[in-house]
Symmetry: C2
Subunit: 295 residues, 2 copies
């Protein structure tokens, strides 16, 4: 476990450094926009999606020097979605990662443009020559990121989430929402990391099953933490989902059964990796980490 924590920290440090290089420097015009983009992305976040990309790259033997760009692309998409999601027309949240949200620290127009420009940058990063030996396969990676981000992926999930406020969803409908809202990008993180190397259809399919379990587990644990943790521990406004009358795994199942569900999903995630052997070690450790985390 010490080894795993060291690996996480190394990945996070690599990611922070690379994102710092990929984001336009704060003194380049338009300065305020670039400062706000850096504010939104740097200096915080668990970097769960990059960790998944790095871990999946180990399964296919893809070098970290390539996989780091896939990791950065998914993190930029995630960061843009947080900036837009925090804005007043959506969640209207003032705190994120322990800091004022972008529209609070800057202004709403800047937050809108920050999100827009981070999305463009994510795609730009993934066009970098040589992320895959086969440029046609790299076009496929861009296609995957676009679909995962769009109206039938993450953005669509947020639309379903919006429509669900005040509605009584059942477990199937809640899962449908999360498979889009967070699951699509988590799946993309795993696939894009792996696709920096070469993978068989069986591995691709095993990784997809793993990603689906881990994505839902992540959300279930988020709901438990949101219901239990204090704002200080969480670094964002706690108890907000309940206050907003949003359906969650806790509101549907209660805390105890939600915790059980997270454990089942962890077991399923491990089962999905059964044939991938030692190279899938990091993915297994991430499954444990996602379920056991306290923040």
């Amino acid at each position: 476990m010490t080894d795993f924590l060291a690996w996480i920290q190394a990945c996070q440090a690599r990611m922070e450094s690379l994102l710092g290089e990929l984001l336009p420097a704060p003194q380049i015009a338009p300065r305020r926009l670039h400062q706000a983009m850096r504010y939104a992305v740097l200096g915080g976040g668990k970097r769960v999606r990059p960790l998944l990309a790095f871990a999946a790259a180990e399964v296919t033997g893809a070098p970290a020097e390539r996989a780091q760009y896939a990791a950065a692309a998914v993190e930029l998409i995630h960061a843009y979605s947080l900036v837009h999601d925090d804005m007043p027309p959506m969640d209207n949240d003032a705190l994120r990662r322990g800091k004022p949200t972008v529209h609070v620290e800057f202004d709403q127009a800047t937050a809108l443009l920050v999100g827009d420009a981070l999305q463009s940058l994510a795609f730009e990063v993934l066009t970098r020559p040589g992320l895959n030996d086969d440029p046609a396969a790299q076009l496929g990676m861009l296609n995957l990121l676009a679909q995962a981000s769009g109206s039938r992926g993450m953005a669509g999930g947020q639309a379903i989430d919006l429509a669900s406020v005040g509605q009584s969803l059942d477990l199937t409908e809640l899962e449908f929402m999360h498979i889009h809202k967070t699951g699509a990008l988590i799946r993309a993180s795993v696939q894009l990391g792996a696709q920096c190397g070469t993978l068989s259809d069986a591995t691709r399919s095993a990784l997809d099953h793993y990603a689906k379990c881990i994505g839902l587990a992540f959300q279930v644990v988020d709901d438990v933490l949101d219901a239990e943790a204090s704002t200080a521990t969480l670094g964002k406004t706690a108890g907000k989902d309940a206050a907003d009358n949003k359906p969650t795994y806790v509101s549907l199942l209660g805390v105890a059964r939600a915790r059980d569900l997270a454990q089942e999903l962890r077991a399923d995630a491990h089962a999905a990796l059964i044939n991938l052997g030692e190279p899938a070690l990091r993915l297994r450790q991430i499954a444990d980490f996602v379920v056991e985390r306290k923040f």
Copy 2:
């Protein structure tokens, strides 16, 4: 000229039909988001950027069956930018193409997601296999679109625009803003259409010069029309720039000199195409059309 108008209408009809296919059907979940995306994109617009892509494709002999995807990609980026630009934190505009803007017809959260999802879709469209014989060159096309859309392109131009409200810009600063805000995507429209075929460095450079002139001409004419036309003719709220105290070519030069500048830019655009012969006919006609249009 009759021939040119028929060509425009054929391009517009092809674009409307293709965009209708590329946009998710309105009955696919999340329905409201997909309905709003279609509302934002279909049934209006001059389709200037697609026209430029189709016209530039003729210069390099690229088939329209390919160029139409480049055309759709730039139009989707343009459409997303209009949706976000019209929102209250930005221009707060209630009317676009003679219809209520997306955040008025639907709501602000939906408008935010519509813009986000249209941007993803634009990149998805450009990943379609075979837009260029060389997949590595097609990765370059995606890179070009990402840069043109991002913080050093269109989104950056909007940030400069925001920062300029109430400021007294000079002509150089106003040009700097427009080269980003509208020029970057117009350049991308021309380049992406042309790059569906094969082009020399000289042609690439000639097209860039043409695109720069036409992009500025378009903006100068926009300012003149905004100052003069009625809301009914324009299909969007007229006189809004002056009311918002935004610097424009008309506020800096007056209407008469702004008209002269548009004519000079038209002449420069024609000069840029001097060595491209008959295949550049449509680009020349577009230069005339952009400067002579009344809406």
